[in-house]
Every structure is written in structure tokens, then in C-alpha cells.
Subunit: 144 residues, 3 copies
């Protein structure tokens, strides 16, 4: 959890896909979307390869250049643990700081995770990022 946040906050995006299983779900959506029952959000990937592609296109677009992020997270709330599969929800807040020095709350919400624990290592089988605000989609550039 912490290292995932560090990879993004330290602009080590190339490490990001490595937190996921080869076959995985990564989805960014909004609370409003979830409540309305819409299955898809603003971003959807179902393999580690898609995440790698995403990083490549972010690097090419160079959007990430002028801004840095800072994750603050609550304690994971464990929903279930079964056969090495942990289901947990964790509140998050992401601050964005522009090169100009301007800071703002970029996103807040909850990570809904399914994590596989095997051989002393944890990896995401599924990470659904539910943002409190539905405005985030128009700004969305980097992984959350």
C-alpha cells in the first residue's frame, strides 16, 4: 500500500504495474457512478500489460512533468481474509502540487482492493479506485 503510493509520489511510474497480478482489474470510477450502477468508470484495465501501456503513453504525453502528487491513506479496513486473498477498503487523499507551487486536493475516495498474499509477497488482483468527486475524470492523467 505504502510502496504503491511512493511509486507514484516519487514519479517512479514504471514500478506501478509491478504491484498488480498479470491478470488483474484496475478501475477508476466515481461514487456517483457506483451508486447509479454503471459498471465502468473513467479508466479500466484488465491486465498488467495494459497498465504498462498506460505508463508508456503518460511518459510520451509528458503530462506528468509539471506536477507532483502526495498520497495520504487511512488504515486498511479488512472486509475478509480467505485462503491468502484479502479484501480491504482504504480511504485516501491525494494532494497535487504544481511546479508553480500551487497545492490542491486532487482526489479523495476509497480503494476497494482484493490482494493476493503468496510467498511473502502481496499483489493486487483487483484495485477499484472510487473517487468521491465525479469531476476527477476530466483531469485524470496519472495512476491514482
Amino acid at each position: 500500500m505504502e510502496d504503491y503510493a511512493r511509486a507514484i509520489d516519487l514519479d517512479q511510474l514504471e514500478r506501478w504495474p509491478g504491484f498488480f497480478d498479470e491478470k488483474c482489474i484496475y478501475k477508476v470510477t466515481s461514487r456517483e457512478n457506483v451508486e447509479a450502477g454503471y459498471p465502468f468508470g473513467v479508466l479500466f484495465a484488465d491486465s498488467r500489460g495494459m497498465l504498462t501501456d498506460r505508463v508508456r503513453s503518460l511518459r510520451e504525453a509528458n503530462i506528468y512533468e509539471g506536477q507532483v502528487y502526495r498520497h495520504l491513506m487511512g488504515r486498511p479496513f479488512i472486509m475478509s481474509m480467505d485462503n491468502g486473498l484479502v479484501q480491504a477498503e482504504t480511504s485516501f487523499l491525494i494532494l497535487r502540487t504544481m511546479r508553480t507551487g500551487e497545492m490542491s486536493t486532487f482526489a479523495a475516495g476509497v480503494y476497494q482492493d482484493r490482494v493476493r498474499i503468496a510467498d511473502g509477497r502481496a499483489s493486487f488482483v483487483e484495485r477499484v479506485v472510487v473517487c468521491d468527486s465525479s469531476r476527477v475524470d476530466t483531469l485524470l492523467a496519472l495512476p491514482l
Copy 2:
């Protein structure tokens, strides 16, 4: 602590009184009030029944509809532990997101708690919510 925050953030307000003892103190005040020695704050309840009434009136007023909250908390700082009674202080930050997507820092401050641990269950004997800002009172709608 986390589940209390979840009950509010997930709009499961009906669960909120259940975190308190039948006979309890719940108080919302400001740092300025406390420093000035004023005993009462902007909100005061001394029984679980009063909290249940509060939820009912919030539901009727329907104020809560257009906004969601997100708690982020620090680690509890344990002041004392004695005979199953824990005294702790925990910093908090509450973000509010309006249906329009606008996010803002709604409140920040410290929870001053007295928690009873009995039969493997924790309940609030007293929760005093000391907000850093005294402006919070005019906006106050939901439990903090």
C-alpha cells in the same frame, strides 16, 4: 475508530449511535472555545437516544443529500489505559465533496476520546470533537 468514520463516510448514519454507550458524552466544540474555558460547544448530547434523535432529524431535514464526507485520521495517541478504559487523542481531517464535484476541507481537529473496552468490544464513553476552526459551527450538519 475506522468503522465510525466509515459509517459517516458511507452515509450509514443509523449505525452512528451504536458506537456509543447508552449513557455517554458527545460534544463538538472548537479549540478557541476550549481555550476560553467555555464548557459547551456547538453540539452536546449525553445519551445514545439523543444521538438517535439527531440522526432522525438529519434524515428529515435531508441536508445530507448533496454532500459526502471523507475522514482521514492519524494514529491514536494513548494518554492512559486503566481498567478497560482507554483515553486517547486522534487527529482528524474531513473532506467534503459536493454533488457538483467541488471538494473542500470541511473540518480538522482532534478527537478526545474515552473508550470502554469490554467483552472484546470498544464503545465511546465520551467523544469530544475539538475543531481547529470555530467557523465549523455555522456549517455543521452531520456527525463529525
Copy 3:
């Protein structure tokens, strides 16, 4: 970590130098500074005595009067542990509330710490505060 934050948030600044070794490094800098390879930041002290002087001048200047701070921190990310010396990095967010009630994000960034654990007590050998924003320097008054 938590008590350090409390000392500042509760305006008990006189306790602040006591978290450091007699011979220590305390530095406040920005991410941009670090990336550009500048060795010094906006604030630098290399002894506990310098920190005590700093508190004295803050009290005399009385800058601190009209504002309170609130630290929220992530879980420390342990980089290494060796012979009672722990190296860790911890994300932080500091909110500032003015007496008028106005709240804002004052600073966010990461604590890069070297902590000595001896005789059941932890003290900072080095605390480098790397702020995400380089704007913080012009506003800087109190310890971060």
C-alpha cells in the same frame, strides 16, 4: 512521530528541540531544491541549541499567535534498520487554521528521518523535511 506532531499542533514548541539529539541535522527544503542538487534549503540547523534558539525567536516574534497547525501523517516507510539506527520516510500534510477560521493546506511532503533508538527512547539524528511545494519558504514560520 506522533508526539513530535502534537508538540507543534498543541503549540508546545518548547518541547520540540527535545526530540532531537544534541548533535543533529534539521533541514527544511523543497523537492525542487533536492532535484536540482542544492545542498541547503530554507532552514538549516545542526545542533539542538540552534533549535532552541529558533523557538525563542518564534516566541519573541509572536508570529505563531494567530494560527494553529494540524499534522496528518502516513505510515513510516522503513528504508533500513541497523544497530539501533532507523532510516524512514513518512509522508505528511499540514493544515493551517487562522484565528478567523480560514483553513488551508500549509505544506505537504515527506520526512526523511534517521532515528536513533537507545534505552527505549527514540530521537532524531537527522530530520530532512522535503516539501512538495517550493512556495513554502516565503511563508515559513514554525517548525514543520
